[in-house]
């Protein structure tokens, strides 16, 4: 038989014979291909750019697609290293039997090609079958219209083929390098030597503490700003590195201490477990860290997803305490009641009832703020302390909040929708006012101390003519005004609606049509439009969360599975000997369970600690999405950890069983 036939045949046999490790690898690759392809298709469907409210989701999916690529490359590379380790023996034998290096290279190339083709066919077929469904689910979760056409562009096929082709070539290159550089006897010989244990645990412990501490510190102090994503990745990176160092040095130190305790060490179950773990701790540490990191990622991803879904309504309401708001420039309105007349007329035409209507005048002034002193912006250096302040007259305030407060000429009321203002006096353009009272709540602007990005400060001044005067002072005295609306007298109308949702939309459309084109119009927002925006973003996040959760979980399972198989094969001989010397079947089971429990319990525990430390950062990210319900987040977190732990224990039993089947004596 000619070589061109027999070598591919050997490659095919090689894959079939090693099905126990290749099958999960092929399936994982196929799944990755499906997800990658579907993401790529969705991004390339340009309708998302045209559909209103879909912009957020489109951006999120684009980020998701990039992240997916970043995660898949190292992961597939890592799993490949398990595969090639198993094959070295066989390839060494081929080499002794007379296959030259170029033949082996050709055989390995064929193997890679076969796996690539099989995974690609399975992955793409699955993707083509399910893409439309996934797409509809995405649209549905995002509250977008589902009656749009979905196409699978050729470029998505090409991108997927090239991306995974690249990964395959990378893996093939690594394998070829490893196999060709070693001589056959090296390949054949089982590596008997235990790992050299690090001489000094001190350095790696210190490095571990530094990195982990640094990561935790970043996660703890970072604020929600433009740097948050950079900080997030930096924190993740540092925690990963720190975990690796600490796992290695920490576990070796712990195991050594345990071994020194003779009475503990020389017990049946501990004895075998501890010695086995010390023997390959460095290698174990790497996969334990992987398991730990993937667990953390699954938990955090699910936490964000679940919290967002559960807290969506509250998040929408936070931005729109009342259903709708319209703001006008009152200096350009001859009659402020004209809008309200239109509003009432259009509402009754569309069968909508207006409720809880409020209207008030206010100014938004641009100031230079230093503690409780607010002065006119005079220089560019003042701009760093720029702060917008809202001025309302006492009569408007009393009317819309249903109060009956009184103020002297030099007194004001203060309201902040974030942290309390706290000062007992305010200096406004060199004039000192006494803060008579700090208001604790506005019903049209919800107070939330954790609100970073949308902080608003209100000063309530005794009468409107003073408000007007003060606004003019701040406005006219400055050449550095950043906010162009500064000094404009605003007139704001807000209201709730009752009626059918379609009627509400029709009413708002009619009102917008009539008033948003007028010269006096400044801005408007309503809970329905905002809701669509939020749903589009949350739905996109939810979609990403579910898919990433799924991918992380599969990665996690695969790492566990490979770890058990490779260790089971390594331990088989040991267990054989021990069973000959008198280790019973029950002892074998007990030992395995103890060993795996330690090996898997540790990453879970650390993953939970990581989650707790990352919770603050996660919460801040959720704050940025207007989700301020700490209790909800905490409860979701607990629930998810519980569910994840159950799932984790199940996969533990599954892998423990695989391990047991490998090491069990056949008789």
């Amino acid at each position: 038989m000619s070589k061109t036939i027999i070598l591919p045949k050997m490659a095919a046999t090689g894959i079939r014979k090693n099905g126990i490790v290749y099958l999960p690898y092929i399936l994982t690759t196929a799944f990755s291909i499906s997800v990658f392809f579907i993401f790529s298709c969705i991004i390339k469907n340009d309708f998302l750019e045209n559909v209103p409210h879909a912009a957020y989701m489109w951006m999120l999916l684009k980020i998701g697609n990039g992240l997916l690529g970043i995660i898949l490359v190292p992961f597939l590379f890592y799993t490949n290293s398990f595969l090639i380790k198993r094959r070295k023996n066989e390839i060494g034998l081929y080499s002794i039997l007379g296959l030259e290096k170029k033949h082996i290279a050709f055989m390995m190339f064929m193997e890679t090609l076969f796996i690539y083709i099989i995974a690609m066919v399975i992955g793409l077929i699955t993707a083509v079958v399910f893409a439309k469904l996934v797409f509809l689910i995405l649209l549905n979760a995002s509250g977008l219209p589902v009656d749009v056409e979905f196409t699978m562009p050729l470029s998505s096929f090409i991108t997927t083929l090239i991306f995974f082709g690249g990964i395959s070539l990378l893996n093939l290159g690594t394998n070829l390098y490893q196999v060709t550089k070693a001589n056959p006897s090296d390949l054949l010989r089982e590596p008997k030597k235990g790992e050299r244990q690090p001489k000094s645990l001190f350095i790696s412990t210190v490095l571990g503490i530094l990195f982990l501490g640094g990561g935790y510190w970043i996660a703890f102090v970072s604020k929600v700003d433009g740097m948050i994503f950079l900080n997030f990745f930096l924190a993740v990176f540092m925690v990963v590195v720190g975990t690796y160092f600490l796992f290695t040095s920490g576990s070796i130190a712990l195991l050594r201490t345990l071994r020194k305790n003779k009475n503990y060490y020389y017990k049946k179950a501990n004895y075998i477990t501890i010695s086995g773990m010390i023997y390959r701790m460095k290698k174990s540490a790497a996969s334990l860290v992987n398991i730990c990191i993937f667990s953390t990622m699954v938990i955090i991803t699910l936490l964000c997803t679940v919290s967002l879904t559960l807290g969506e309504k509250a998040a929408i309401r936070f931005i729109c305490p009342l259903d709708a708001e319209y703001v006008f420039d009152s200096s350009k309105m001859q009659d402020t009641s004209a809008f309200e007349t239109d509003m009432q007329r259009l509402a009754s035409q569309n069968n909508v009832q207006i409720k809880d209507k409020i209207n008030y005048n206010y100014f938004l002034i641009d100031t230079c703020n230093n503690q409780n002193i607010f002065s006119i912006l005079k220089s560019s250096s003042d701009m760093e302390k720029e702060r917008l302040v809202r001025l309302i007259s006492l009569s408007d305030f009393n009317r819309i909040e249903g109060q009956n407060k009184k103020l002297e000429q030099d007194e004001i009321l203060v309201y902040s929708n974030t942290e309390d203002f706290k000062y007992s006096s305010v200096t406004l353009n060199e004039k000192v006012y006494k803060v008579k009272e700090e208001i604790s709540s506005f019903h049209f602007d919800t107070k939330e101390v954790n609100n970073y990005s949308r902080g608003r400060l209100y000063f309530i001044i005794n009468d409107y003519s003073n408000v007007d005067k003060m606004a003019k002072q701040f406005n006219d005295g400055s050449d550095y005004l950043d906010y162009e609306g500064s000094g404009t007298p605003y007139y704001s109308v807000r209201f709730n609606m009752e009626g059918e949702i379609s009627n509400k939309e029709a009413f708002l459309n009619a009102l917008d049509k009539k008033w948003t084109e007028t010269p006096e119009f400044i801005s408007n927002k309503n809970v329905i439009d905002w809701g669509y925006d939020v749903k589009s973003m949350d739905g996109g996040l939810l979609f990403l969360g579910v898919f990433f959760g799924l991918i992380f979980t599969i990665c996690l399972l695969l790492i566990m599975y490979y770890k058990q198989i490779s260790e089971g094969l390594e331990d088989k001989h040991n267990f054989d000997v021990m069973q000959q010397v008198g280790l019973s079947d029950e002892d074998v089971k007990a030992t395995i369970h103890r060993q795996i429990m330690l090996v898997f319990g540790l990453p879970l525990a650390v993953a939970i600690i990581h989650t707790m430390m990352g919770l603050r950062m996660t919460t801040k990210l959720l704050y940025a999405l207007n989700l301020y319900n700490n209790k909800l987040i905490a409860l979701s977190c607990l629930g998810i950890i519980a569910v994840f732990a159950v799932f984790y224990v199940l996969s533990y039993f599954l892998t423990a069983n695989t391990y047991y089947r490998i090491v069990k004596r056949k008789s």
């Binding site: 235990g194 020389y266 017990k267 021990m578 000959q580 010397v581 008198g582 079947d585 008789s667």
Partner: protein, 253 residues
């Protein structure tokens, strides 16, 4: 009654896809007295290893039974078999079968740990044994750090430390150089002089000549046996060698 009674052992292996039956042992009976040192010899495929596996209770005979100290193997439950093996038998293998994850000391302790002995008792037993076998200075080393002879001595220590009724050795000198082999065999002789019963399966005349009695197996049957009586090692060597010649030429015709 003898210390170890082997009665009419028969072992038939059936190949996986039915049909073909291979008789490994046809009908083997012999007995070993307490304190005896018996070598079992035979060609590859003669059934030596099968016999040893059955003696070790690692495998079950198709027919027949074994009694050790009046206890019948066939009456031991599967569950108790492990404990029985642990408490009554000591093993020495050709390729040592030491665990790389343990130091030599911990390898030797392994059966005691499985028995649930306390550390102080283990240590008490080890010290004189290690001295006798000359491995005291290597105890903290790992198997991959010491020579084959040192490994085999550690393996012997592991077999002896439980003070078993019977030591079973499977080609113990097979993987050793001649100097290490000689030293291991004199160790066996010494242990035997102290009253330890040993059954050793071997190819090597060099090893077998040290035994008090040599059994020869051919094609699943006990073919012949010779006693040392008062002969020297050299005389024993010649006796065995002659028997092997007969064993190999007979039946060729």
């Amino acid at each position: 009654m003898a210390f170890l009674e082997v009665k009419n052992l028969k072992k038939v292996y059936t190949t996986r896809f039915g049909g073909n039956q291979v008789k490994a042992l046809e009908k083997v009976s012999f007995s070993v007295e307490k304190g005896e040192y018996v070598a079992v010899m035979g060609e590859s495929g003669s059934g030596k290893t099968t016999l040893l596996n059955i003696l070790a209770s690692l495998d079950k005979p198709t027919e027949g039974d074994i009694l050790l100290d009046e206890k019948s193997f066939s009456k031991i439950k599967n569950k108790e078999l492990c404990a029985f093996r642990r408490d009554n038998l000591g093993f020495v293998f050709q390729d040592f079968n030491l665990l790389d994850t343990f130091s030599l000391q911990d390898n030797i302790f392994l059966p005691l740990v499985l028995q649930g002995k306390s550390y102080s008792e283990m240590k008490e037993r080890l010290v004189p044994l290690a001295k006798q076998l000359g491995i005291t200075e290597f105890l903290s080393k790992y198997p991959y750090e010491v020579s084959g002879g040192q490994k085999q001595r550690a393996a012997v220590a592991r077999a002896l430390i439980t003070q078993p009724k019977l030591i079973l050795a499977d080609e113990p000198t097979g993987a050793l150089d001649s100097k290490s082999a000689t030293s291991l065999l004199s160790m066996f002789s010494n242990v035997n002089k102290d009253g330890q019963t040993i059954v050793m399966v071997t190819h090597s005349i060099q090893a077998a000549k040290c035994a008090g009695r040599v059994l020869f197996i051919k094609d699943g049957n006990l073919f012949h046996q010779i006693y040392r009586g008062n002969s020297s090692d050299d005389e024993m060597y010649h006796k065995i060698s002659d028997t092997l010649t007969v064993l190999q030429t007979e039946g060729v015709e």
